[in-house]
Each structure stands twice: as C-alpha cells, then as structure tokens.
Amino acid sequence: MSKIIKNFKNISYGPAPEDSKDVMSWINSLNNPNFLFINGKWLKSKSSKKIKVINPATNKKLTTLAVSNKSDVNQAVSAAKKAFASWSKTSSDSRAKYLYALARLIQKHSRFLSVLETIDNGKPIRETRDIDIPLVARHFYYHAGWAKKIDTYKQKPIGVIGQIIPWNFPLLMLAWKIAPAIAAGNTVVLKPAEFTSLTALYFAELCQKARIPKGVINIITGDGSTGELITSHVDTKKIAFTGSTDVGKKIIQSTATQEKKLTMELGGKSPFIVFEDADLDSAVEGVVDAIWFNQGQVCCAGSRLLVQESVEKLFIKKLKSRMEKLRVGNPLDKSIDIGAIVAPVQLKKIQSIVKKGEREGSKLWQPSWACPTDGLFYPPSIFTNVSPSSFIAQVEIFGPVLSILSFRTPSEAVSIANNTPYGLAASIWSENINLALDIAPKIKAGVIWINSTNLFDAACGFGGYKESGFGREGGSEGIRAYHDKTLPESPKSSIKINQNKVALPSIDTTPKLYVGGKQKRPDSGYSFNQMSAQKEFICDIARANRKDVRDAVEAASKSKIGTLNNFNRSQILFYLAENLSQRKETFVNLLMSIAGVNKIDALKEFEQSCQRIFYYASMADKFEGNIHNPPIRGLTLAVKEPIGIIASLMCEYKPLLSLTTTISSLFANGNASLIVPSENASLIATSLYQVFETSDIPAGSINILTTKNNELNTILAQHENIDGIWSFSNNSNIRSDIIKDTVFNLKRYWCPKNNRIDWSNESEDFLNEFLNESSQVKNIWIPYGE
C-alpha cells in the first residue's frame, strides 16, 4: 500500500494537477499557424511570417501563430469600419444583450479558459481560476449594463478602435479593452500579445457562439509589426494600448500626425508602504499579493516596499519566513503560488537586472529551496541595501523581485513613494485611518489600495499618473474614453471683421510677462508688436523665451494653489469675475481694436467671459468625484485631482472668452497654469493680470507668457516639470508636433482637432470637457471592517 498513507504522521503536499486534456486537444486542433478572426469568419493570414508559441512551464512548443501583415490588418479594419455603420446604430438594449451573452459564455467555459490561460501564460491555475477569468466575466456583465445605460447619455461612439494588449493578463486585458469599446457602440480590431494569444482565439469562438454581428470584434494575431500596422492605419480612430512605457511613447509619436485618440496603460514601480502601526502579518501577505502575484509580471505590482524604520527589521524577518513557504512550479498544480515566467527573453531580462542590482551593492535574498529547472521559473527575491537612487529601485523589473527601502516619517514615505517617473498604483498599510487617508491623496498614482493590494473591479477606474499612462479603464471614467468628445465647431458665418475705426489704447502701456504673481521683464530683452485688427501698431509686447518658461514653471510649482480648498478657489474665481466685470470698457475696446469685432459682439464676448468665470467659480466645488461600489465590504473613492502644472497655447479666435474659459477652468480644478496667448491677442491677456492682482489669485498659480506664435511650443511641450499641455491651434501640424514632444515625461495633452472652437457654446458637455481635461481620477480602495 501507499507509502504516503503509511507515513501519514508526517504529512506533506503532493501533486494536485488540474486536468488539461480538453484544452490540449483544442490547441492541437488549431490550424498551424492559426487563422485570423475577421468579419466573423476564420481567415488564413496572407503573411508567411510565423511565431512559435511555448508553454512557459515546460518551455515546449504548443503551436505557431500567424503574424498578420498589412493586407490582414487592412481587411480587419475595413470589416470593423463596415460593421461600425450598423453597430453604432444598434439599439443599446440589443448591444447589452450581446455583452451579456459573452459574459454568460465566459462563465460557462470558465475552467477551460483558466486552464488554457495557464498553459499559454505560465501563471498559476489558482490565479486564472479565481482572479483572471471571474474578472473577465465581471467586466462583460458590468459593461452590458453600461451598453444599456449609455443610451440615456446621448453620447456618440468613436469608430474603429485598435487595441493592443500585453501578455501578463491576456484574456483580462482583452475584456478590459473590448467590453467598454463595444458597449459604447464602437467596433474593434484587437491584437493579443504574441506570447499569449490562445485565449483570445478561444474568445473569438465564443463571439461566434454569441452571434456577435460580423466585423464588430476582429482578432488578429501578430507581433510588434502588426501592432504598428494597426496603430498607423488611417481608419483606426482610437488606439487603446496596454504595455510598456517605451512602446507607449512610440505609439504617441507615431500616431501624433493622425491625432488619434489614445489611452495608454503603461508601466509602474509602485510603492507598498508599511507604517509601524500596520497589522504587520497581514501586510506581509499583502506583499505576497503585490509582488508575487502573476510572478511579479504586473504593471501595478508593489515592487518597492517602503517600510518604516522602527519595524523594518521585524518586517523583513517576517517576510523572509513567509517566502520560505511560497511554492514555485507547475502552474497547473493547484498548490502552486508562483508559476513560470512568460518567455525566455523575459526570464533573461529579470536575471540580468538582478545581477546588475547585486553588482551595484544591493543585497539579494532568495528562499532556501530551489526552483524546478524544467521550465521558465524564477524564485521570489528581495533586495535590501536599496536606496531610491539604486538601479533596482528605479527600473521596472516585471518579475518576482522586490526592492526594500525604509523611511522615518510619513512625509518621507510620500517623497520616496513619489520619487519615480511612474505613477500607477500604491498600497498603504496602517491601522490608523487618519494616517492612511492623509497619505492617499499625497501619492501621485491612479490607484491607491489601503490595507490591501492588487484589487480590481470593472466598476472602478484603473490607470496611471505621470509616465504610467493616461486614460482609465473601468468605471464611468473608463467608458468615457470610448466616446467621441469632439468640441463644438463655431459656425463659419459668425466670423466677420469690424471695419469701423476704434480708439486705440494708450501708447503708454508697458505690458510685461506675468510670472509668480509679479510683472516681469522678459529675459531676452526683446519685444514684438501688438497690432490692431486694422494692422496698426498698438504697443510693444514682452517676448518670453526658454528662461522665462523655466522661471514660470518654477513659480507655478511653488504656487500655493495646491493648498487652497475648493471653496477658496471658488471664492477667488467669483471675485475675479466681479473685478473683471468692472473693466468692461477696457476690454470691450481691446476686443474691438484687436479682434476687430463690433461693439455688440465685443460686449457679448465680454459678458460671456464674466459669466464663464462665474460658471467655473460655481463648479470649483461641484465637479466632484464618485463613490464606486465594487463587490467588497468597503468602497472605492474616485477622487478628482488636478493634473498639476498645465501650459495652454491659446488661439486668436474669441481671445477674451477663450482665455477666461481656459484660465478659470484650470484654476477651478486646482491646476497652476502657464498661459501663452495668441501673438495677436497678447495685450488682452496682459491686461488681465491687473485683474488677477486685485482678485487674491495666489502668486504663481496663473502665469502669462507672451511671445510670437508657436515660439515656445517645443520648450513647453518638452519641459519635464510641466504636467500637461493644451493647444487650441487650428493647425494640425503644430498640434501633432506638440503631441510628439510630450513623450519625455508623458504629459497629458489636449489638442482639440477643431478648426475654430465654438467658445460661446454653453452646453454642459462643452464646459465640463475643460474640467475633465484639467483633472485626473484617482481611485482609492478602502476595505473596512472590525
């Protein structure tokens, strides 16, 4: 009889493999290479290029993938384009039913999908079965609901969406991309990652079962070259990308000319902050879920452990003994914590980063047991002797490697946490709710987990700050990204130049730059001419240069606007409107002479400008966040936070109204701004600073840099301490140059494609777009219970 039973007094874990027969026979039945799912049919790729697909747990070949070429991509995009015509008009009720059908099918085949995902990706069956696949179903259910709800919002879809997803959560990322896109009435061409395309192919079979109308969902396999073809295709109106920051930046640059809408979900180096008053044993488990979930191949992995000095030693000791209990091995085994690394190239990358970390003097520690050697395995690893300047504290490893740093005070924790170009997520552990909720808004990241980590739900937005990307997935903020937000265009007939002679303003004016609350002479010592609409010289205008930009950014970053609460900001804007309204004559005359409008129009623009400031004054304390209700005991606060410092390159049209709209919306949300007026409207902008000075505007929160048109564009777009840039230029080349230049720090950019924005539009959609663009959503997860 069994030795195991005989020896029952000394129990141990045995093998507990999940059965993979059905899945293997499905893989073996695939065409070799696979066909592409285009227009509801399986088509053979026109390309002869192929990629080998392996099972990372065995490093053995599973099948081969077709690398779609231009002709395949064209076919897929044109199928999607054709389908868009009818899908966008399909009733929301009917769209909801299709999404619901997909959700159901995923549940019906949940175990098959879990096993397939595990074989293809290498992640443990525990994760695919309990996390990935249930979240996939949840995402389709949630968005089936949105499809139904959207109708009441009267929002328009965008068109064909190109979607490129990574290999770390293959089917989950597919769901995050496809569900909101089709719910909103768009059609998609999706390319799964080349390492992990199999669940996407099975999903295509489910689409057929669900009778998704042909062309609505197209799935084509391929590598980076296929991705490029999708992003550059003239008919993909939006690109939704999840992947590395490097590739994300390339996509921004390559699509800039076409000015595509983008959402970018990129890399991270997320802090996991443990305060001395945390439940330390639970925090240790948190670390396990943060960095050893999915082999650490998670964009929001808590890869930097920040632990308070007073408990550092104890915590590391606890962590090490916990690590001894982790089990690495065959991911199909139900008793495995850490599976296989997705591909040999990724394993090599991890190994080389770890070596570099050791060479730099950081101390590596790994558990005493050895990993199996028959697949792509890497043991859980921690580094001590790490400082913020260490290589391994900065670089995204995307593997099961944790860097440990310590801090002394809450403010030090915040500054170390933020000391990274990334800003995807953060975990905060403390039993003191005051402390935890104080730290959450101070961390620059899109997702904050309090006393928890790596929680995801379709109802909550996910996405980054800074170089972790932009746009949100999930929640109301996620669905927004799949709607057409084009600004209203001004009717052509409304533009006419007044030929009447107007009294020019006095020659004695000496407009300067307005920086840090002070009038400042330009560094260059140069000026340029302010001309009237009738081409008469009015006065000289200060010509700002690179150094003035530097000073203005400095002043903006020191501005106290961040410490004002929304009521303060609201009051200041009301006061600003009041003070402006007392200068009617000055501005009406300026508008008549500079913009060349007649008195009636000038009066109208002036009145509207005052009203506009009033509007944003009232919205300063009403443009609020949400409370999401994910299925946990707890809640998620979707807080709206300012972007930071935003530079705005203004247009000539409606000079006063466009300026007041921009300035007051940015201020209402708590951003510091650098305003670059259109060359021809400079005097109008500089005349505003006298109003600012009487309105309690905190120094540095609004800065005005006058210059010749487009002279500062590059400097502003490339400046890495500017967090966002807006351009209202009607020249698409200028806009796309700006977009290309944003990649150095991945600034938020907003360059509406309008020829002439209808600034006088008073619809809430139009006005609130400025508030949406000047804010970002942070989701703070707060589980509770005693």
Binding site: M1, K6, S12, G14, G785, E786
Partner: protein, 308 residues
Amino acid sequence: MNLDTDLVSNIRINLSAIERRTSTLTKRRSVKKEYQAAWLLKAISLIDLTTLSGDDTAGKVERLCEKAKRPISHDLLDRLGLNQGEIQVGAVCVYHHLIKEAKKNLPKNIPIAAVSTGFPAGLSSFKTRKLEITESIKNGADEIDIVINRGFVLQNNWKKLYEEVADFKKAAKNKHIKAILGVGDLETLRNVAKASMVCMMAGADFIKTSTGKETINANLNNSLVMLRMIREFYQMTGKKIGFKPAGGISTAKTVIEFLILVMEELGNDWINPKYLRIGASSLLIDIERQLYHFALGRYANKEKLAIG
C-alpha cells in the same frame, strides 16, 4: 511570562486582510488522492473526540471511548494498509462528572480532556472553578479545558484575565490547560488576538477557540489570528503553544482547510497532537466516509460507518 500590557495593546488586526488571506489560502493549496487520505488520517489523530451535551450518560461516553480506540473500521484499515492500533484519536473530551467513566474505558495512551471551570459560561465562583480543576485531575483527567471570563476581555482588563488563567494553571499543576476564548462572545478579531496573547502569557498550554456553544465557533479567520499570536509568542519566548479549534468543524473538507492553515502559518512542527487538537463530535464520521471513498472508489452507505 509576565503580563506585558503594552505588547497586548499594540496588537493590530485588519479584518479585511485576514479575510483575504483565509479566502485565498484554501485555494492556494489542495491535497488530492493518497495525500488527502494521509491528511485525513492525520486529522483523526488530532481529534479531541467530544461529547458535551446536557444529556450525556455513562453509556454515551462508553460508546465514544470505543470509537476513540477504533476510529475507523477494521475493513477500511486493511484496505488502507494500516495496522490495528496504528491510529487513534488525540483525546476524549467530556464533562467533569464523566471523567471516571472515560478512564474506565480508555487505554493509557488516549488522554482524557475535561471541560472544567463551570463550562460553558465559566461564570461560577472562582473558588468552585478552581476546585473543579483539582477534582477533575483527581478523577483522572489528563488535560483541562478552562473557560476564560469573556467579560475581562471586553473590558480590556488584561490583569484580571492574566491572574485568573495563571491561577487555573497553578491549580492544574503539571497538567496541560487549554484556555477557551469563546471567540463568538469576543466579537472582534482584535479581542481574539489580545485574549490569546494574555492567556499564553499566563501559562495556557493551548488556546482553544470556543466552547462549541456560542453562535460563532472556530472559523478560519479567528483561527488565523490565534495562530499568528502563537507564532508571535513562540518568537518571543521559544515556547510552542498548542491550538485547538472547536465547534463547527464537521467535514473532511473543512478539517483539511484548518490543517492547511496551520501548515502555512506555523508549519509541520505544529501538526501533531502535542500542539494541535481539533474539538469535534461528528467530524470523524465524515472523514471515515471520505477514506472509504478513497479506498473503495465509491461513497459509503452511512449505516456502514459505526457511530460513536
């Protein structure tokens, strides 16, 4: 160990994180086939086979003792390749007045645990409770399950709790005492953790979840908290304290979850009758049913499994 109230008041427990650990842990580990059979046999050896009903009689205890000696049928033992006497339960647990009865029916190597100290409320006079311990030992009890005063915990009166448990330990002399926390009455896991720590400081050899009479008895959450306190105490003092979940563990599946919890949080060292007991009355039958299925490949008719 002396009472360290600072240490006790600094104990922090986060319920949501505890729940996440327990809900994922049981899915992170799985034991199948002969491993599962081995784990179930092991579980049998950890059972404090219990009868604690108001209507317990000598006859009931006699039946229980027979089952304790032969927890699974000869036939099944043969099929598992085990010999007679190779497997028996951890202890038999009875009320004070039936200790003698149990003693009569049990071999020396099966200890008798008695619930003394005014079980289950534990609120009779201190003097009588102490006396009950002495009497129980005199009657032949090898281990004493004592009930703590939950009121002390709710009032955070750690000094009184400490003194009472320490006095009980003194009264029990060299016998093991298991401190029953009554987790259901303590309501919060923070209270459970603190009470665990104080009882260990006061000299309890085991900490036990509950009497089995409360609405909430042993579950993975309160057990996890208690195990972590045992680990904490071990790291401070080098002394291993035992753990006894009781009440509500009635299926083979549940008991394996508890074993996994102990295995992961404390390790194999703790999985033996010296440091781990499972207070249960109906669990044994379900384990036997699972073993039957393992050995014969089909589920047993319930009348084929002997009752205790």
